[in-house]
Structure formats: C-alpha cells, structure tokens
C-alpha cells in the first residue's frame, strides 16, 4: 500500500473526517450565500421580462437548479452507498445517509416550483408529463431509501439494505425515464406541453448558473453538517467521540 | 473441532460478553448457561454464522468459518427458539421439507418412522396448528434424527418437553456425541447427557 492510499484511508475514517468537515462547512456556507445573492440579483434585477411568460418565468432560477440537483444527488448517494457495501467503509455509508434527505428536499422543491409554474403556464397544477412523472418517482425512491434506513434499528444492517436499494434504484432511474418518455410521446393527447423559450437570453443562463452553484454549495454545507451529526450518533460509544465532545 | 477465541457480542449499546474463549473436540458437549438476557441466544447465533461477530474469531477444523461458507453450513445444525414448522402442514410434511433444506431426500416411510421415534405416533397427519406446545417441539426435534451435521447448536431444546421427551432427547444427543459429533446447547436446568461429560460455560 503506498503512502497516498494510507493518507486517503486516514481521511476515510470518521474520526479524522469529523473535524475536517467541521472546518469545511463555514466556507461552503459562505460561498452558498455569496452565489445565492449574486444569482438572485441577476435573476430579479438583471434578467429581462420574458416575452411570452411575463414575470412567471423567474421561477426558472429556482426550479432548474433544484431539478438538476435532485437527480445528481441520487447518483452520488448511490455511488457512496455502493462503495460502502463493497469496501465496508463506514464513512461512505454515512455519506449516503446524509445525502438522502437533502436529495428528497430538492426533489420536493422541484415538484413544488414546477407545480407553481405549471398553473399559470399550462392552466393545471399537474400534468402527467414524462419529466414530471419521473421526478415524482425519484421522490418516491428517495423516500423509500430514507424509510428503509429509518426502519432498521441496527445501523450496519440499515447501511447495507439501503445500499442494495439505492443501487437497484439507480439502474431503474434511466429505465423509468425512457419508459415514461416513450409512454407519453406515443399518445400525445394532452392539450398542454412543455413550452420552452426558444433561445434563452444570456443573462437568464447566467442567473441559472449562479443559482445552481449556490445550491451546490448549500448542499455540500448542509450534507457535511448532517454527516457530522450522523458520525456522532453512530460512534457515540467510541473514545474519540467522548473526547471530541467536551 | 470448534475453536472460539476472544469472541465479543454487542447488542444495541450493550456489550453482552467479550473475550470469550473455548474449544470443543469431537464428542464434546458445551452447556452455555447464564441468566435471562445474558447473551446465550446471541452467542449461538454467532456460532452458526447468522450474526457477524463483533470481535474475535470462530474456527471450524482450524479454519475461520467466514472462509468456509457452504462447507461450514453443511456441518452445522441449528435449532432455535422458533420451531421452523409450518402450522398448516402436518409433521410429516414439515419433516420432509426440513430434510430437503438440509440437503437430504427423505422418503415417506423413513419420515414416518422418525416421527414415531419422536413420540408423535397418531399425530403425523394432523396440521401442526392443533398440536400441543410440546408436540410441536417434538415435531421440530425430529429433524435431529435425520441430520448428518457433526455440529449441533441447540437453543433451549428441552423447553416444553415432558420428562419422557427430555430423556429421549438427551439420549439422541448422547448418541450424536458418541458418534464423534459435538454439540453446544443452552438450558436453564441441569443438563445430563448419557455417556458424556458436559462442559459448562457460564455467561454473566
């Protein structure tokens, strides 16, 4: 085993990661606030009014980042869980558990903002569109993962069971997406469809990017925070935790 | 045959035992004693490989049981608090199914004979549901009669049995030991196995 690997394993132990995470959190939180303010500024005060959607389109600045994140987080969560299952590293399983609630929140916000956008644009809070449906199912997958872990008392068992589920789910997500797309496009009887602005103004794109970065930073900060709590809960009988909590 | 070194067991936030050491030779019988909640059942499940050991090592014929896998499973017979009987089926059907799972095909005649030896004459064809507590237990124990596993792990096997059945069971275990097998069992009473001396391990 070479030195770098040992170094890596050192940080892969909850004991050494706990303080590291504690030092990282403020930086990411600060970045989240800075990018968030910048993004909101661009979104509300720089980006012009949309020709077809008037001001309602400004929901995009929150809708798109949350939608993207909800999908990304699931992938990352499944990767960490799979790593934990394969290598039996405690920290990666904890990372997966820490990501899930935030991912679920992002999925919920994507649905919520989407529904609030849909009412003025399509005249309905909800349509059974491919994208919407698969986002709803993604939320179910998150909830399943969280519920399964919560239902198992023994944390080690919870980690492994959750990992199996997350991996099965990650295979299923693309299948769902394509099945739903195909289902929907085959019988396009719906009176409404997703109308996208033909070419997004550069400022809009900037605003969206800034907000996305802000959301990323937020997610990292809050996930690290939750990870610290999980580490404490799980390792509460070890000496180092008793020492760390003075 | 079975060697246990520095074994520890944790349930919830409670450490039930640690640093447990014993070894068992062919023909040996270990009686695990201890008060309620001492961790006897937990120990037995760990010995079977059903629960992972928190610390320490369990070796069978000198090799860790984790490595042995199927080979170890073939060598172990576990009899727990649960009877592993289907209430809707008859003792006869239950026994034959259990034998199949144990890797053995049992024809009806043989199974019939084994149940009679277990004292279920005339009850072979009733659904287990209507049997008395002790009769259920006997039906479950009939499995021991057709096992070829050298290591028997029995969790409170004498519970709910009447006096005759207790001495019958002790005889069965004795024959198993005499044939070169070994056994780990728990009980809150004294255990006397004919033709064999029983080591006692007391968990506290």
């Amino acid at each position: 085993m070479n030195d770098r690997l040992i170094h890596w394993f050192k940080y892969a132990s909850p004991q050494s990661f706990y303080p590291l995470a504690g030092r990282m959190i403020p930086w990411f939180a600060a970045l989240a606030v800075i990018f968030g303010i910048a993004g909101l500024w661009v979104g509300f005060f720089v980006a012009p009014t949309d020709a077809t959607q008037s001001e309602a389109y400004r929901i995009i600045f929150i809708h798109v980042p949350t939608s993207w994140l909800s999908m990304f987080i699931y992938l990352i969560m499944a990767a960490w869980a799979g790593l934990g299952l394969a290598l039996n590293t405690r920290l990666s399983s904890m990372m997966a558990s820490a990501l899930a609630p935030t991912g679920a929140l992002m999925a919920f916000l994507s649905l919520w903002t989407g529904a609030l956008w849909g009412k003025p644009m399509w005249g309905a809070w909800w349509v059974w569109d491919a994208r919407l449906t698969s986002e709803l199912i993604l939320l179910f997958l998150y909830l399943g993962f969280i519920a399964l872990q919560a239902a198992i008392d023994d944390p080690r068992r919870a980690d492994r069971a959750g990992a199996v589920l997350a991996l099965v789910g990650v295979v299923n997500v693309p299948i769902i997406y394509f099945s739903v797309t195909w289902w929907n496009t085959l019988h396009q009887g719906a009176s409404v469809s997703l109308t996208k602005a033909p070419s997004m103004a550069q400022t809009m794109l900037n605003g969206m990017l800034l907000m996305s970065i802000a959301c990323w930073m937020y997610v990292i900060a809050v996930v690290l925070l939750r990870l610290r709590a999980i580490i404490l809960e799980r390792e509460r009988h070890t000496e180092w935790v008793k020492h760390a909590v003075e | 045959m079975l060697t246990v070194a520095r074994l520890a067991c944790v349930r919830g936030d409670r450490r039930l035992f640690s640093g447990l050491e014993f070894s068992l030779e062919a023909g040996g019988c270990l009686h695990v004693a201890g008060e309620n909640g001492a961790g006897k059942t937990s120990l037995l499940r760990t010995l079977c490989g059903l629960s992972p050991a928190e610390e320490g090592e369990i070796r069978w014929q000198g090799r860790p049981i984790g490595e042995l896998g199927d080979e170890y499973r073939q060598a172990v017979l576990y009899f727990g608090h649960h009877n592993a009987l289907k209430e809707e089926l008859t003792p006869l059907e239950n026994l034959r199914i259990a034998a199949t799972l144990g890797g053995l095909t049992l024809d009806e005649e043989t199974a019939f004979g084994l149940l009679q030896r277990a004292g279920l004459r005339g009850r072979e064809d009733l659904p287990v549901r209507v049997l008395s507590q002790g009769q259920k237990r006997r039906a479950a124990l009939a499995r021991l009669l057709c096992s070829r596993a050298p290591l028997w792990i029995l969790d409170e096997p004498f519970v709910a049995l009447d006096v005759a059945a207790v001495s019958w069971l002790a005889g069965i275990i004795g024959a198993h030991l005499a044939g070169g097998g070994c056994a780990v069992l728990t009980s809150h009473q004294e255990v006397a196995i004919p033709g064999s001396t029983v080591q006692t391990l007391r968990l506290s």
């Binding site: - | 060598a75 009877n83 089926l89 095909t105 050298p150 044939g179």
Partner: protein
Amino acid sequence: MSANTANAPASLPSREPGALAILAGVVRRDLLLAMRRKSEVLTSLFFFVIVVSLFPLGIGPELGLLRVIAPGVLWVAALLAAMLSLARMFAPDHADGTLEQMLLSPAPLGVLVAGKIFAHWLVSGLPLVLIAPLLGVQYDLSAEALLILMLSLLIGTPLLSLIGAIGAALTLGVRGGGVLLSLLTLPLYIPALIFGAGAVEAEMSGLGAHGHLSLLVALLVLCGFFAPWVTTAALRIALE
C-alpha cells in the same frame, strides 16, 4: 467425517439432492403450502377480480369509456395484486424460523430463492394471466386486445415477482414492513406497468404491440438474471 455415521444410520435411505432437485423441492413445498392455505392462490386472484369489477361501479357503465381505461385498469389491478402477495413471499418463513434454516442450508441460497420466486409466480401471477381475458370481456375488449393483454401479463407478472422479491427481502423483519414494501417496489414496477398497459393500448389503437412487448421481454431477461442474486444478498443482510 466420522460424525456422519452416528446420525445417519446405514438403514436411513437418503441421498444428497442436486441443485435442480432442491429447486423442485422448494417449488413443490411452496405450492403445497399454497394449496393447504388455499387463500394464498385466491387472495391475489380475488383481489384482481375485485379491483377490476369495482371500477364500473365507481365510474359508470358507459362501454366507450370503459374500453379506453381497460388496459390501464387491468394492469394496475394486476400490479396491486402482485404487490399485496409479496409480503407473503418471505415473511412467514422468517417468522417461524424456516428462513434461518434456509440460510444455514448447504444448498446454494440463490437456488432456494429462485425456487421461491418461481413458486410465487405460479401461485399469484399465473392465475391472473388466466383470468384476465374474462375480465377484459367485461370491458368490451376485442379478441386481439385480449390476446395481447394475456401475453403482456404472461411476460409482465414474472417480472413483478422478480422485482418484488428484492423489496420483500429488503423489508423483512423491518418495522412497518407493509408500507415500506409498497414504497420500495412501486417505483420499480412502473416500467412494467407502462409497457404492459402500453402494449394493449397500442394494439387497440392499431399501432401494434410488438415494440412494447419486446421491451417487456428485455426487462424480464434483465431481471431474471439479477433479481435472484440481489434478493439473496438482501436476505443475508436481513437475517444477519
């Protein structure tokens, strides 16, 4: 090993069964149990029939409308029936200690699991396939649509059993197993629902069901390979 002789006297006529014999043994056992309980077979079948027959009562008797919703209703009902019978795939064996014995059995666990899944399909999937045309007639489906319906169910129900086995194994002995099981399996079932109902709809609208059916078959092959394996892993985790 010398110990063997003690407990298997020469007079005991017995032989070690191969993997296939064990598979057959497990299937036979589960079928026997199902026959003994009767309800096993009937529950999912009856549930299927109920759900399908309740709709006309709730929605109204217009055949035009009923025909449009028929593929969806029949497939949703099949899916729910399969989902409900899942809880009984491993839970009774878990409760009475048989599952422990299976894990400790020298036979490969994968084979046992495959046997149980197959038996589950025979007991709770196949009856649905057979009764479906009868129910389809109530919704005024054409003969071709009925054929495609049966075909889609014939491919789809084993898929439901396979996917469901994973969920059933994961939620074994877990608090609130019932909901969790539906929460976990439902999202995984959706592709089967969409392609299955889609096949019948495509047939009815004259587009041809071929595409949907081949996708279903592809899913079935995929799950046939992986599901027993994943289920085995989940069972080991559940009983540790």
